[in-house]
């Protein structure tokens, strides 16, 4: 199989937010301007037709990263390069976490689904396409006239997916699309997403904190911690042999049905505030392998022999 050019490539992407106190307060307390780097020097690439997952706990910058890729926010450093299969522009659509906020409550869902369709499309064609899309996502065409509140959470996510498809998207940003859903519904939505990818050759950027779901969906994944990507690589490799201490800790602490671990008392720690990031490796205060250099010098993401990349001083190879 010929190696296709990546659909998305993100290079040294960074986004800082100004969190300074109001001017008068700074003046009085003599405090300097402060900024938070929500996303810091992140690079990765997504091949067409694959799923790239970004995993991390709350506050790790995955939402900011999504917005940057979607173009809803502009980076302070680096760039997001998008190139379609034919070299043309990449159409991006998004499926959100919250099934309530992702649809305008005052619009019939048919109208919401039709919104991304090209402006020159006539009404009849739109209606037909909406009906077709509703069927694609497992709803009935008659549902187009209903309002969002008449649907359950899982159905609303299907509608959101239908809307994304209406935009003829090449790239779907899936921002925790199932975390608000019950497991039985989650399975349906995940299966649907996989089917669509197979049928339509879609590319997914999948954001989640749920490792099991990621394992099911992802071809590649990147682990983020406090705005930085600490490990990145093919999903099978990472799940099989996580190398970064954070990845390992994450996988170890997630409760797993198949793996009851009844006798472990994890170390107590809290994720540091992004306002107050430790120097060097941001994970070093929690890291069991932390060395002197970790507290001083930031580890850069480097290639490993097994095809993954890692940002850690302590891990060899």
């Amino acid at each position: 199989m010929e190696a296709a050019a990546p659909l998305v490539s993100v290079r040294q992407l960074g986004r800082s937010f100004d969190v300074s106190a109001p001017a008068i307060q700074r003046l009085l307390t003599g405090s300097p301007r402060r900024s938070v780097r929500a996303v810091d020097d992140v690079s990765f690439a997504v091949d067409p037709g694959t799923t790239f997952a970004i995993v991390g706990e709350s506050g790790c910058g995955k939402s900011t990263l999504t917005r940057l890729v979607a173009g809803l926010d502009s980076p302070t450093e680096g760039e997001v390069r998008l190139r379609g299969r034919d070299g043309g522009p990449v159409r991006i659509q998004m499926v959100f976490q919250d099934p309530v906020g992702s649809l305008n409550a005052r619009w019939r869902i048919g109208r919401s689904i039709a919104e991304p369709m090209p402006k020159d499309m006539d009404a009849a064609a739109r209606r037909a396409r909406v009906a077709e899309l509703l069927q694609t996502v497992g709803l009935s065409p008659g549902d187009a006239a209903k309002y969002p509140h008449e649907f359950s959470g899982g159905q609303r996510q299907r509608i959101a997916i239908a809307r994304a498809l209406a935009g003829e998207a090449d790239l779907l940003l899936l921002d925790e699309p199932t975390s608000a859903l019950d497991v039985s519904v989650q399975a349906q939505v995940l299966n649907l997403l996989k089917d669509l990818q197979d049928r339509l050759g879609l590319t997914y950027l999948f954001i989640s904190h749920n490792l099991a779901v990621v394992r099911f969906m992802a071809d590649r994944l990147g682990i983020m911690y406090l705005g930085r990507m600490v490990e990145e690589g093919p999903a099978e490799v990472l799940f099989g042999a996580p190398a970064h201490p954070y990845t390992r800790q994450l996988m170890a602490t997630v409760p797993d049905v198949d793996n009851p671990q009844r006798d472990r008392e994890p170390v107590a720690f809290e994720i540091p505030s992004p306002l107050n990031m430790p120097p060097g490796c941001t994970y070093s205060p929690r890291c069991p392998l932390a060395m002197e250099i970790c507290r001083r010098e930031r580890p850069m993401l480097r290639d490993r022999t097994n095809g993954t990349r890692i940002a850690c001083h302590a891990v060899e190879g």
Binding site: P22, I24, Q25, L28, T29
Partner: protein
């Protein structure tokens, strides 16, 4: 925390500046001091001379600066109507209004808060429904109508209470109070009641609404789950948390009371600021209007500042930010 205080002071300053500008506009441009001093028959030369003497030939911003300088020391000129320094007039009228407003506030809080708490705790009770209906009437009945009815019943028919004025007042320094005499206290009853009915209803509805909201909060459910007695849950936790927004609104309501006092004073001939400003408007007495605006604006700003400070005091979350 100091930063918050300073920021509030900053916004107070902003409010005062805007108010002062408005007040200056009224003072200098709506009322023509020259015309009012010289009358319509004065010659052009006389006018020009006075204009220079009063500094009206200077650029507007210089005039505004002088206006501010004078305003800060309380010099708002002479009332067209009373021929007295405006500030003296206002100071002599202030105690009456302040007493009226304070009594009404105290009454409104003393009655409104418990009623609101009761209705929040027993929203479906018969008494609650009655109170809610009464409070709806309370915010729907115009004060002047209520005042008229009170006068009709208690002054004219029953002859129990005074229909006008403050009764006997006692002067303590420059302050005059009606609270120290029987007739003064009696004279307060109807105006205070008239003024307070709306506020009682407002505060009751507000406390009820806020408290019902708070009662649905998780920490109340958790407080109950902790097995705290109802009293503790309702008063120590629910009421305290509901009072936060109430404090803000009560601050605004004191402002509203000063405004509504105008109506009340007109009906009961209460010799306060409201009556003064009504007469000033009727007589186009612009210096009084300007000073009233500035003073009331200052009063409101101070009330808001106090509210913010109270907020800071009772809400720990505010203190750290």
């Amino acid at each position: 925390m100091i930063a918050i205080v300073l920021r509030r002071l900053g916004s107070v300053l902003l409010v005062m500046l805007v108010v002062a500008a408005l007040s200056f506009l009224i003072f200098n441009f709506l009322g023509d001091p020259v015309n009012n001093i010289l009358g319509v028959n004065a010659t052009l030369e006389e006018r020009e001379a006075l204009r220079r003497a009063l500094g009206l030939d200077q650029p507007t911003w210089v005039q505004f600066w002088h206006f501010l300088e004078r305003a800060v020391v309380g010099d708002f000129g002479i009332s067209y109507r009373n021929r007295q320094p405006v500030m003296d007039l206002i100071l002599s009228r202030m105690p009456a209004t302040v007493e009226l407003v304070l009594c009404a506030t105290v009454l409104a809080l003393a009655v409104g808060v418990p009623m609101g708490v009761y209705c929040a705790l027993r929203p479906r009770g018969v008494l609650s429904r009655v109170l809610q209906m009464v409070s709806l009437i309370g915010i729907s009945i115009p004060q002047f109508l209520l005042g008229m009815l009170l006068i009709l019943v208690f002054s004219v028919e029953l002859r129990w209470l005074s229909a006008f004025g403050r009764g006997e007042v006692v002067e303590i320094g420059w302050w005059s109070t009606g609270l120290l005499t029987d007739s003064g206290r009696k004279a307060l009853i109807m105006p205070v009641l008239t003024l307070a009915v709306f506020q009682i209803s407002m505060i009751m509805r507000l406390v009820q609404g806020e408290m019902q909201e708070v009662l649905r909060a998780d920490f109340i459910k958790f407080a109950r789950a902790r097995g705290l007695p109802d009293r503790a849950v309702n008063l120590r936790h629910a009421l305290r948390n509901s009072l936060l927004p109430v404090v803000t609104v009560v601050g605004l309501q004191i402002g509203a009371l000063i405004a509504f006092a105008i109506v009340c004073e007109a009906v009961f001939q209460w010799p306060g600021l409201g009556l003064l400003i009504l007469q000033a408007i009727e007589y186009a007495d612009f210096p009084v209007m300007a000073a009233y605006l500035a003073l009331v604006g200052f009063g409101f700003a101070m009330i808001n500042l106090t509210v913010d400070m109270i907020y800071l005091f009772i809400d720990p979350r505010m203190r750290r930010k």
